[in-house]
């Protein structure tokens, strides 16, 4: 670990040449295992896979540059876990032989149902993000839920009246960003 002030970067020596298929899958899992391990001990801000710095001095430089924003973001993420919710569009609904107007109305209803579910779920979350608006899913969203609100969130998920796919809890991958050093 490379520390600066109140934050630290978990680092490991890697060989960029190892980032090839099929070793990538192993490295992806290892990355996730390290994030999970840190997450068990406190708030984490996961880096995108394969983020590489030249050396420890560069890691410290990164921490110095991001310190203020990273500390604030970590405080905001503390005590939260990420959950993903997907509702597939009903495939049993007849789409053959119906008129264009009926089809659009059906799509609107499915979309509207997804929006309403999202509103109810987002009510239990500190932050949320709809991942693929209008794609193959009636709803495909991620929620940053305070641990104290998880029971309420999951109860709301149980009330969804459609086949729903839930994933989590995750470290806050989908809610991790730092504007200080963003592209």
């Amino acid at each position: 670990m490379v520390a600066h002030g109140t934050i630290a970067l978990v680092v490991a020596d890697v060989n960029p040449a190892d980032f090839t298929e099929p070793e990538m899958l192993t490295l992806v899992r290892r990355h996730h295992d390290v994030v999970l391990d840190a997450f068990r001990h406190g708030a984490v801000l996961p880096m995108r896979f394969a983020t590489m710095v030249t050396d420890d001095a560069a890691a410290r430089q990164l921490l110095r540059t991001c310190h203020e924003e990273a500390s604030a973001t970590l405080s905001a993420l503390a005590g939260h876990r990420e959950w993903g919710v997907r509702i597939r569009r009903s495939s049993t609904a007849p789409t053959k032989g119906i008129s264009g107007t009926d089809y659009l109305a059906l799509r609107r209803r499915q979309r509207g149902g997804g929006d309403q579910v999202h509103q109810r779920l987002a009510h239990h979350a500190s932050r949320s993000s709809v991942r693929q608006p209008g794609a193959e899913f009636g709803l495909d969203a991620v929620y940053l839920v305070p641990e104290s609100g998880e029971a309420g969130f999951l109860a709301e998920v149980d009330r969804i009246d459609e086949p729903v796919q839930t994933t989590g809890p995750w470290p806050p991958y989908s809610f991790s960003e730092l504007r200080t050093m963003a592209p």
Binding site: T20, M24, H32, P46, F49, C66, W170
Partner: protein, 51 residues
């Protein structure tokens, strides 16, 4: 881990998380390589032994 779980994992580890740019960062021949490899990984889901 099911194929769906693996996709959820890849969605997060490879497609989310903090993206950092700057002099201190080593670029892996650009983001395109990562995207390319993600497709290869997804294609390999069926052939790789899933834990």
């Amino acid at each position: 881990m099911t194929a769906d779980d693996l996709v959820e994992l890849l969605d997060r580890v490879i497609a989310a998380g903090v993206v950092i740019h700057g002099d201190v960062i080593i670029s892996l021949a650009g983001v395109d390589l990562i995207r390319l490899d993600l497709r290869a990984l997804l294609a390999a889901v069926d052939t790789v032994e899933i834990r």
